[in-house]
């Protein structure tokens, strides 16, 4: 069990995170927040790149900083900006990273082709990464994070650069892995976590706003999400009056999806809230009451 125990992180007078308290058991956790909310700061603390100013992070009761390499050997990490050696092939780079992760050469040589196949890079495993696309590099990053069969897998914006097929494959892979490990996935793309995360963590105003299963999060807006059609000329008035979540054009009219606590009228159609509704509402118009 991984516990973030009342952790704060300050950079001088700047507060990056304040009094964050989280508990992680095996499963997938989606860390959902817009850019700059503090997701990466939290992730960097979880992987010991930076250290809490206050509080501590414990794994099975022990401070992860004191655990040192014993903690890091359980860790798989894909940073937001995954760096690589351009003149290395994926196979060679993973072999190097295996050595860093304390994996024997023999074991690594067995594992690497399998992992590269898993991320769809088996055909280019011996090609230099210099000419790889962003998506291919990201897949190398995913493969390296899985090299040591980590008990804690921390992925910072892992789907950046992946096409829809690759995203779907990646989500499937995470679901398969989630049984016996903690997977923390940071993203600002709701669809990345909507179908796979056991719990969603939302950060707002430098602290944790919610840590709930998707269903519970959606219930926060239950009965308050509506859709209605409005003429183009009335659109501006509508936007001013209601907290619109999304809008689209359909048959020469504007279709608004919005949050309202007012008594619904006959033109309003009550709809089921989605995670995206929650996300857009939280970060678009302020936290839910």
């Amino acid at each position: 069990m991984l516990i973030v125990d009342h952790v704060s992180k300050y950079y001088g007078n700047f507060i990056a995170l304040e009094n964050v308290h989280l508990q992680f058991d095996n499963g997938i956790y989606g860390l959902l927040a817009p850019n700059g909310a503090g997701k990466t700061t939290l992730m960097k603390m979880l992987v010991t790149l930076i250290f809490p100013t206050k509080g501590e992070i414990r794994y099975n009761g022990e401070n992860i900083i004191h655990l040192g390499s014993k903690y890091r050997e359980l860790l798989g990490y894909l940073p937001q900006q995954f760096g690589y050696y351009k003149h290395y092939s994926p196979a060679k780079y993973l072999l190097y990273l295996s050595a860093l992760k304390g994996i024997s050469k023999h074991e690594a040589k067995e594992k690497i082709p399998k992992l590269l196949k898993l991320v769809g890079l088996e055909d280019v495993m011996h090609k230099k990464m210099r000419k790889f696309s962003g998506g291919m590099i990201q897949r190398v990053g995913i493969a390296q994070a899985l090299l040591n069969d980590p008990k804690i897998l921390i992925l910072d914006e892992p789907t950046a650069g992946l096409d829809p097929t690759e995203r779907a494959r990646f989500r499937k892979l995470l679901t398969q892995l989630a049984n016996d490990r903690i997977i923390i996935l940071s993203t600002h793309i709701v669809s990345d976590v909507e179908s796979i995360a056991n719990e969603i963590i939302m950060i707002k105003d430098k602290t944790i706003l919610y840590k709930k299963p998707i269903r519970e999060l959606c219930q926060l807006l239950s009965g308050r999400i509506y859709e209605t059609a409005a003429d183009f000329q009335d659109a501006e008035i509508f936007r001013k009056r209601f907290a619109t979540i999304s809008e689209k054009q359909e048959n020469g009219q504007m279709i608004f999806r919005f949050v309202s606590d007012e008594q619904p009228n006959e033109n309003w159609k009550s709809v089921e809230p989605t995670l995206e509704d929650v996300f857009l509402h939280v970060y678009g118009e302020g936290a839910l009451a």
Binding site: K44, I50, A99
Partner: protein
């Protein structure tokens, strides 16, 4: 892990190119004055025939050889009725005749005989010269030249007393009475230990700073630091980088030194001179001869010289490594290193000349490589201490090792953003 770090150096072609460039440069220095040194084999002939030690037997043999050859010299110009004792007298009187009437082969024989005579004359006068040598007077002249006074002057004069004792011991040992390439004519000591020594020191420094900064900053400059330092090895990877730096730098510097020395000793034959004391009078290039603090043969001196060169490079490596930990950028590291070196060399020039501080300020690893030709010798008043090189290296090794530990300690606790 060290292997993987070493691969990073090997895969950077810049080092191979630089190394080749430096060796070529040193080759050019070696060949530069080769023509002026074409008569060096004269000494080899002397040494083969009479040994390196100057004694009465050797001198008598040489005189006999000169007398024999002078018969031939006196027959060269049929119009000359004067009988010459030594070739330089003949050359002086018949300069125009020589080039008009003698064949190249005869000219060579004459000039070689002249050089042979010069060795003989010098060998004969060695004892007289050393009986008049005064280390204190030498120190006084140098003190006046550099304007030292007060405590600094006092310290230098005390050291001159030590040098005086060493001089007496040297004379007693007969270290000065050995044949070697004529210093004032060929300046072989300066060529090898000053020109080449200084060149190697600076070239090595460039290689060392580049290699060390490359290894230490590699993960930051390739943006792989997040993955590398969160692995099991984590920030301890820096120890591997340090070990790899030591290996790569020692290898690069030794390769540079070895290649340069191989070229040098292939061009200039020292085979019979390896065990000649470095303090031989023949080695001296200035009125005050080189005086090593210990009785060192040429070979021992070369070994100590190489060791000192190598250790000074390891000091630069330690400094570069620490700078890299703090700066995490190779360009900033190069700039800071150059600044540090510049300040280290500049400070002694602005320090008061009347306190010992001026001498202490010369105990720095950058000043050390400015005068490699007087390492382990008492010929420079600012370094006129028997263990100057060892003390400089030891003191700065302690400072840089401490700085390294502090840097490592800091690195293990610093946020990596």
């Amino acid at each position: 892990m060290i292997k993987y770090e070493l691969i990073k150096v090997v895969k950077s072609p810049i080092f191979i190119i630089l190394l080749l460039f430096f060796v070529t440069l040193n080759g050019l220095i070696i060949f530069d004055h080769k023509n002026e040194r074409k008569n060096l084999p004269v000494l080899q002939n002397i040494v083969e025939q009479y040994g390196t030690k100057i004694d009465d037997k050797a001198l008598a043999g040489m005189k006999k050889e000169i007398d024999y050859e002078m018969v031939w010299v006196n027959r060269l110009n049929p119009k000359s009725e004067k009988q010459y004792q030594f070739p330089y007298e003949f050359i002086k009187d018949h300069e125009a005749f020589l080039y008009q009437h003698l064949m190249d082969r005869e000219l060579n024989r004459l000039f070689n005989l002249n050089l042979f005579t010069q060795y003989y004359e010098t060998a004969k006068s060695v004892d007289d010269i050393y009986s008049e040598l005064d280390a204190t007077e030498f120190a006084r002249q140098q003190i006046k030249k550099y304007g030292l006074s007060g405590k600094a002057e006092e310290t230098v004069l005390n050291q001159a007393n030590l040098l005086e004792k060493r001089l007496k011991q040297l004379v007693k040992n007969g270290e000065h009475r050995h044949f070697f390439y004529l210093g004032p004519v060929y300046e072989m000591h300066s060529l090898l230990f000053k020109k080449l020594g200084r060149a190697i020191a600076f070239e090595g420094m460039i290689l060392v700073v580049l290699i060390t900064a490359l290894l230490a900053n590699y993960e930051f400059e390739h943006r792989t630091s997040f993955v590398a330092f969160t692995s099991k090895r984590g920030r301890n990877l820096l120890w591997d980088k340090l070990a790899a730096s030591v290996i790569a730098n020692v290898f690069a510097v030794m390769l540079l030194i070895a290649a340069t020395l191989i070229i040098y000793f292939s061009v200039y034959d020292y085979s019979n001179l390896l065990f000649v004391p470095i303090s031989s009078y023949f080695n001296s290039e200035t009125p005050f001869p080189y005086i090593s603090w210990w009785n060192l043969s040429f070979l021992q001196y070369v070994c100590l010289f190489v060791g000192c060169l190598l250790l000074s490079q390891l000091l630069y490596m330690l400094l570069t490594f620490s700078l890299s930990i703090w700066l995490k950028n190779s360009y900033l590291v190069f700039f800071s290193f150059a600044l540090f070196a510049g300040v280290s060399l500049w400070i002694p020039s602005v320090v008061s000349l009347n306190s010992n501080f001026i001498l202490i300020m010369h105990v720095n690893p950058f000043y050390l490589i400015m005068n490699p030709h007087v390492w382990f010798m008492g010929n420079n008043i600012f370094t006129m201490f028997p263990h100057f090189e060892a003390v400089t290296i030891a003191v700065w090794a302690v400072i840089f090792v401490l700085l390294g530990f502090i840097s490592m300690y800091k690195f293990k606790r610093q946020p990596l953003n």
